[in-house]
Each structure stands twice: as C-alpha cells, then as structure tokens.
Amino acid sequence: MFQVLFNSEIGTSPHSSLLSEPVIDPGEYGYIPTSGLTSGHQGCTGCGMVSATNQVLRALKLTGRYVAASIGTGCNEVITTQNTSCWGKVSVDHNNFPNTASTLSGNRAAYEALVQAGLLPPGSVVNVGIAGDGGSYDIGLQALLAWIARAEDGVYVCLNNEAYMNTGIQSSGATPFGAKTSTTPYGKKANGNPRTPQHLPDLALAAGAPYVAVASPVHHRDLAIKVQKAAMIPGPCLVECYSVCPPGWNTETDYFFEITRLALETRLLILYEAELHRKEGYAIYTLNYLPDRFRPIEEYLETQGRFKNLLRNPEMVKVVQRYVDRRWAFWADLLEHNGVGEKVIVRLDSVPDAVGLPV
C-alpha cells in the first residue's frame, strides 16, 4: 500500500500536484462554449450518461487537443452511433464490450508511431476511453487494469449507472446492495443484489493509476476540471461519472438533479480525486464536495423503485447506512482538520429526521 495523505482544502481546484500548470477553470457554472455530442442520440430523457459524455467531450476540447475516443459497447455506444454518429468533431473507435482499454492502448501506440514518424506533432491528440460500469467493472476489468499497469498515457471515463442498462438492467459489479435488477430479483429467498458494489477508482489506484476521480454530471465545473486533469497528467487516468438512469433505477425522468444531490447529501456518492505519486509511494486524496447537510440513506433510497423492497427491510437499510458511514469515516482526519470531524461520526440512522451540519 501507499501512504495516504489528505489535501487539507476541501473543494475543486484546477491545480494538481502532478501538473506544473493549472488546467483551465471554466468558472462557477462550468459552462464550456463548445459542442460535445451532437443532436440525434437516442438516449432517455433524464439520462445522466449522455450529459456526462457531452461534458467530458467539451472538457477534453479545452485541452486544445484532438479527441480520439475509444468507446466500449454499451448503452452509450448504441444510442450515439445507430446508423449515424452523434459524436460531432471527435473521432470514435468503437471496438467491443471488453476491450475499451486495449483499444485505447492500440490507438495510443498508433499515435506514438505517427509521432515517431514525424507525421503528427506530439501532444496533439488526447486518447480517451469511454465505457460503462459493466464494460469496466466486469468484462473489461482485465483490459482496464492491464492498461493501467502498462502506464500508458490516456484517459478512461467510466459512466457508472450501476447495472447493465443496455441489455435490460442486469446486475454488474457496480450494482448497489439490495438493488433490484432483472438478475437480482426479489422473491421468497432473494433480497435483491446480495453484493456490495466494487469501487473502480480504488481498484485503479491500487493498480497504479496516477489520477483517479469520481465526478458527477451535475457538478459541471468539477467534472470539467477533473477530465482536463486526467487528460494532462501523463499516464493512465480514470474518471468515474455517477450516471443516473431513469428506467434502470425506476425513477421519474426529471429527478436527475435531485437524485444526485441526495446521493451526495446521504454521502453514498463522494466526489473526490486522488493523485498517486507511484514512485514516491504516496497518494494525495482531495475531497471535492462537502454537502451542507447530511441526510439518512432512506431519503436517497426512496427516490428509486429499485430499492422499494430494500426499504421494507429495515435491517438491510441499516447495512447500507453502516456501509455509507464507514466509507465516510475515511475522510475523518480531513474533516476534523476542517472542524467538522466530531459531528460526522453521528449515527445518522438513529436520528429520525434529516440532520443538517454546518460546514
């Protein structure tokens, strides 16, 4: 393991310990006046993934480099390429389901060869891989971790909507505990997904990725800065995007923003970034977002039909709450340093009403 250091400041900054120059800060609202995906995609209303892809592409264009995207098979791919392409002024290489990272690798090598041959200037292209959680946590994990192990330059964006939504909501390695999917049903013996999800940024950091981050398409500035950092930091960088999926999660389509906010306030979703100084043996963690108030996990679970049955089982809810609290405890030192440490360790499930905590 490496030594864990915490950035004493909470929030998003365009500076990075791995970059000599800051990346472009798009300002408070994170507006980037370029085009990402063009019109015509077949995504659902309220899809988090489409918005995330759009913002990722815009952010990558801020680097001034040409974007070559290697995309994995999945919902995002089929809704943007059927009989046409919605990728605008971006080259897209869709290969297969499991090989987004190795396709990225091949494209990076080809680019390097063209640079060697003097046909393209160095640093003129950013190679990005975009895949879903199924293509990253499950079938593509081998290729992804091996790509990280090879320490090749590139960006990998995982659009995490927590199940195989393209094929009809089957559980993946990222599906939350107790969630109902078509392969983790509720029944006399089954209680939804029995597994707690894996956490890809942890895996990537352990594999040696210099930069990993969790972002959300609702926090535009944060996402834009993280994607730019991932593009500028040499080596294999990973950005995971929390992606709301209305049909998969069984929610209303206009709850995109609210669901994300609840995920953050219940602390199920933590926006953070980690920079690994691999040779030095330490990693710097930065917490990017501290909610104004913390809420009990039920409030998040209640927004989604996939947790309907979980909510009927108070023991299972407690399991989720414990999981959330323990993961949040990772940040205890940092919070204490910022004067919020004491209050965080409150067992929220014992408090019936929502608890607001001043920062």
Binding site: S102, A109, A113
Partner: protein, 662 residues
C-alpha cells in the same frame, strides 16, 4: 542475403521489412519467438515502431485492430491465443481494416497440446480473414510482405492471417533469402489509412451500430471485398515473383499436369508431399499423380481449383486435413474441396476421400503420402472407400490393411469389406532413398545441443549449402533428454525439408544417454554411419559394444566436457561438440565455418572459438589416455559413482547409517 533462420524469425523479418509500426503481442507457444525478435529489434533501434506488452491475446487483437486505423500493424499468436482473439477479429474484417497476424499453427486442445496442427486456423475460418498457409520459413517471410499488399489493396481492405505449422515450421532452421529493405520498399508502398482516426478535418466513427438494412448491405460489401482478395493474391504473388524471383499463386499443383490421383493439403506438410511426388512420379505401376497444395485457404479459390481438376481429368482426390470435422461431413479443407468440386463440376466431380492426420504435432512423413496415393489409386480404380474421414497412424484403424489382427473388431464389421477390397500397391511404397546427409544430436536440455545445431546450420547456409535443422520441443526442462535433427542436402538442389529419419551421424552430448533404452540413440543410424560421443570415460570400442554397432559404423569420441572445463566454460561444452561435428562431417568446410563462427560465436567469444578449434582437433577414434580428473569432492564423486544395482538392501542401509554417523 541468405541467412539461416527459423520460421518465426522469418515472419518477424517479414514484419520488419514491411515496416510495421505497431505490434501488440502476448506470448504463446509456438509463435512467441516472432514477437521476441520484433521486441529485440525495436529495443535495439533496428526497427521503428511501437510494441505493446498486452495482458492477453484478446487485448492484442483489440490493439492491433485499433492501431490499423492509423498505421501498419501486426501481431503473432497460436492456438488458444487465436481463439481468444476470435471475439474481436470480426471487427477487423467488418471495419475493413488491413493488418496481419502471423499464426504458428498449433492444436487447440483439450487435452492441452503445444504442437502443430491447423485446428486454430480452421476455427477462425468464419471470422472473415484472408488466410494464407505458408509451407516453410521462406514462404512465411514472403507471405507476410505480400499480406500487406493484398490486405491494403483498395478493392480488399481486409485483415490477413499468415499460417505456418507450429515447430516443424516455426522452429525449423532453414536457409531463407531475406530481401533488401529497398526492394521491399519499392514493392510495398507505405500504409495509407483510408479513414484515419487522428484526422481533425474529418472525424470518423468506426464500428457504428447498423440496423438490418445497412447491415446486410455492409456485410455483402465485406464479402465481396474478401472475394476480391482472390485475384489480388494472384496478382501480388506474380508481381512478387517478378521482383524477387519467387512467384506465388492461390494454389500449387506439383506433379503430372494431367494427374489422375491428387492429394490436396495446406501448409508445411507440402514439403514431404513434394518429395514423394518426385520420388514416385513416372514409376512403373504408379499412376499420374500430383499434389494440390492450397496456399490461399480464405477466400477459397473454389472455381480455379475445380477448373484445374477438370482440366487434369482427375479420377480421385484425397484431402489431408490437420484438423477435425467436429461433427461435420468432412474436416474444413476436405469440406471445401468437396463443395468446390461438386458446385463447379457436378456430375464430373472426381471421387473424394478425406484423411485426418498430423494432429497435435503428429508426424507427417513422406511415407504417409505413399499410403495416400495408394488410397487414391484404389479409389480411382472404382474400389469401395469410406465416405467419412480416414485417420493417419491409428493402429486399430489403418487406411490400408496390413495386419487384420490389429484392427478393431467393431470397425472390422463396419469396414472389413472396404479394407479387403483395397489392395496395397507395392509400386507406391518403394522406400524413399536416403540421399541426404542427416545428423541427429542427443543431449540433455540446457546443454546447448540445439544452439550448436543452429550454428552448424548457419555455417552451412553461409557456404551456400542447403542445411535444415529441425529441433524437437516439448515441456522438457533442464536435464531431460532432447534431440534435434539436421539435414544437409546432397546432389540436386530440391530445397528439401523432408527428413528420412535415418542418420549418417549421431552426436551424443552426454554419455549417460548411451545406455538409455528409451532413447536407443543409434536405432536409426545408417549401417555405415558415424557416432560421435562426448565422453572421457568410454573408449570407442566400448561405445561400439554398448550400442551394438555394426562393423561398418565408425565411432568417435571427444572429451568435450573436460575441454570446456579447461577453457573455463563451465558446463557449456556445446561449442566443443560443434568443432567435433566438423571433424566427423566434412560436408561443411571447417575453415569457412570458422569465419562464420568468428562473427557469431556467443560470449565469451575467444574461449568459445578456442572450444570449437579444440573440439575439431581432439576428436578421435582412439582410446583416450587416462586422465585423472581433479576430484572436487571425494564424497560427491563416490555418490555419483554409486549404482543401486551394485548393492544389496542391507549394504545400502548400512551405508546410509554410516553416512548419518558422518
């Protein structure tokens, strides 16, 4: 430039001369040394390009397909590795991307088997790749260069698989003419990606999702592109011939132009078949015979083959497949042949039988083809024959009946009548004369036997001799007995690769092998052959006695281990044996060979060169003067001298008690 090299190295040369720019690879036997060679060249700066050490063949295929959108790309694989690529491979053909995969063909198991057959290539015949089967190292090199011309042709734009049989092809050292880089550059223009990925002016989306209307049209175009490869292969093969003097087509027809009996096959076994055709052709009692060797397996040149067979008015075709039918009527080549002939010739179709052989490294020897031509002659005679595949070298299920007692009784009920109706025609079984000089080296793995054979081959090739070395490989690790065969062609130059397995010279690197009943090292020594042994303890007379050699055989010894020890080479005495081989085999001139070794000898160079010289000088057929070897450790010496049969159990127990007491 003629060099001695193995098939894998030849394929690597093909990639190097084709100026491959991206080479992702994952090691798998037997194609590994191709990738090792590329990595070494890129590491030395001899080759420009980017290699990627991917974590699996799946990723190698993914990366090669990705890279082919921008640059000339390649990889190499075998067996399960190719099967692991299958999921991705169709993206190459479906996206119209030219790149080349060199395949060292190997069995696919289970049971696990690392040796050669064509099952891996057969398994991907539905992946839309162009498939060329090379018959030797030279063809592999040439095919790799041509593969880029074929695949990158504007009417084709499809990936190519260059196949060469594992070990007997990929690891056989043979003379290979390496074309100059300038000549290859003028033959093969640099890669032009039609839809480059890194093109800000023209963004492109590869492998978009197409619904039925577009999909069926796309697939029809893809199929047409693959078919176009047929005549492009022909043209490129001819132009290659004009440039380099070695022409290639879709298939070869060796033998009588109007052959009644045809044996069809793909790949490396062609060498053995060719030898038998020239041996049998025109003999009394032998019909008109030919070998049809299919070079372009995919797209299958069905019409051309059918036309050729029709013109020859062939009566019987026997198809040899190094792969399985897996429940189909015939294995893939036979199936294609049958379909091609039936579709194009209808009622004029000759009779066709299928034979499965060479599985998992099983030998395909010249004499097998004598049996196949005999079978073809019987079939052409109108005798009954099987409509399902025959098998080579299955004792209880022979192709032609030699011993009724050996035959499986159940099979006898089924095929007895067929066997009885099929005579063995002596004219076809005239033994192949062993006119070439064959050497077999026995050593223990780790003693460098193969290395010395490879050096010997290199020196021979430098002297413009046709020398071929075929090592055997397996899971043997250090200390196990291994052997390697070398052939020096004499007389007319046929560039033969066919070993008769009857040796003129047997070199034994370790005198403990002399008495090994499992190896019986001189079993196939010709009566007037020579035996060379590394030994300080046995006299030539004793060796003659131990091996039961006849009076015409000659026996030489060389104290190679001792010489290596004196030269401080440790246990690396293979260079001494190399010198000794020159002493007993005059076919490769020693003086000229020394200049080759001076350039190429491994480090420590001087000591190794001296070892070769001393090996040459100190080889003798006389008894060696007894030399007292300095005892390193008296107890160890005693331990090694001890033989279990010399002691009774009680003595052994007493001895071990004594040892315990110190």
């Amino acid at each position: 430039m003629r060099l001695s090299m193995a098939g894998n190295t030849a394929a690597a040369w093909g990639f190097r001369l084709s100026r491959v720019q991206c080479y992702p690879y994952y090691p798998i036997t037997p194609s590994t040394t191709c990738s090792e060679q590329i990595a070494a060249w890129v590491g030395n700066g001899d080759m420009d390009g980017v290699v990627i050490n991917v974590e699996s063949e799946h990723s190698a295929a993914s990366a090669v397909i990705a890279a082919a959108k921008s640059v000339r790309a390649a990889t190499a694989t075998s067996s399960k590795g190719l099967l692991y690529m299958v999921e991705v491979l169709e993206n190459g053909s479906g996206s119209s991307l030219p790149f080349t995969i060199f395949v060292g063909n190997r069995a696919t198991g289970a049971p696990i088997n690392i040796w050669g057959d064509n099952q891996d290539a057969y398994a991907v015949r539905d992946s839309g790749l162009i498939q060329i089967f090379a018959a030797n190292a030279q063809e592999a090199l040439d095919a790799v260069i041509q593969s880029y011309r074929i695949g990158e042709d504007l009417t084709v734009r499809q990936p190519v698989l260059v196949n060469l049989r594992g070990f007997t092809g990929t690891h056989t050292y043979e003379p290979v003419d390496v074309p100059s880089a300038a000549d290859v550059d003028s033959f093969l223009p640099s890669y032009l990606p039609l839809e480059p990925l890194f093109s800000p002016d023209q963004p492109v989306t590869y492998n978009a999702m197409l619904a039925a209307y577009y999909y069926r049209r796309h697939k029809r175009n893809q199929t047409a592109a693959l078919r176009n490869a047929s005549c492009v292969t022909e043209n490129v093969g001819r132009q290659f011939g004009e440039k380099f003097g070695r022409s290639y087509g879709k298939f070869d027809w060796i033998g009588d132009a109007d052959a009644d009996l045809v044996v069809a096959l793909v790949g490396e076994s062609f060498g053995a078949a060719e030898t038998i055709v020239s041996h049998l052709q025109g003999r009394k009692g032998v019909g008109k015979i030919a070998v049809l060797r299919v070079r372009l397996f995919n797209p299958f040149p069905a019409q051309e083959i059918a036309t050729r067979i029709y013109k020859a008015n062939t009566k019987a075709v026997v198809v040899l497949d190094e792969g399985l039918p897996h429940g189909d009527v015939f294995p893939p080549l036979a199936l294609r042949m049958a379909a091609a002939l039936q579709a194009h010739l209808g009622t004029q179709t000759p009779r066709l039988a299928s034979v499965i052989g060479g599985l998992g490294g099983s030998d395909i020897r010249p004499d097998h083809f004598q049996t196949l031509f005999n079978l073809a002659a019987n079939i052409a005679d109108g005798r009954p024959y099987r409509r399902e595949p025959y098998w080579l070298d299955i004792d209880e299920d022979p192709i032609l009946l030699t011993d009724e007692k050996k035959v499986d009784q159940k099979l006898w009920k089924r095929y007895g009548d067929v066997w009885k109706a099929q005579p063995i025609l002596d004219a076809y079984h005239k033994p192949l004369p062993s006119t070439n000089y064959e050497v077999r080296i026995y050593g223990r793995a780790g003693q460098g036997a193969i290395t010395s054979a490879v050096f010997f081959t290199g020196a021979g090739v430098e002297q413009n001799l046709w020398v071929v070395t075929k090592p055997t490989f397996g899971s043997e690790r250090r200390g196990a007995v291994v052997h390697t065969d070398t052939l020096i062609e004499q007389g007319a130059s046929n560039k033969t690769r066919a070993f008769t397995a009857r040796q003129d010279l047997v070199c034994i690197y370790d005198d403990t092998i002399l008495t090994s009943p499992t190896h019986a090292p001189t079993r196939d020594l010709k009566p007037d052959g020579t035996v060379l042994v590394n030994s300080s303890r046995y006299s030539p007379a004793r060796i003659r006695q131990l091996l039961g050699l006849g009076p015409k055989a000659s026996v030489f010894i060389v104290p190679a281990s001792r010489i290596a020890h004196e030269l401080q080479l440790g246990s690396f005495f293979n260079m001494v044996m190399l010198g000794a081989m020159h002493c007993v085999c005059p076919l490769v001139d020693f003086g000229a060979a020394m200049t080759y070794y001076e350039k190429n000898a491994p480090r420590p160079k001087e000591a190794n060169l001296e070892a070769i010289r001393r090996g040459y000088q100190e080889t003798t057929d006389k008894e060696l003067p007894a030399v007292e070897l300095p005892a390193v450790d008296a107890r160890a010496e005693e331990y090694f001298r001890w033989r279990p049969e010399e002691e009774s159990l009680e003595e052994e127990m007493l001895r071990s008690l004594e040892t315990l007491r110190g």
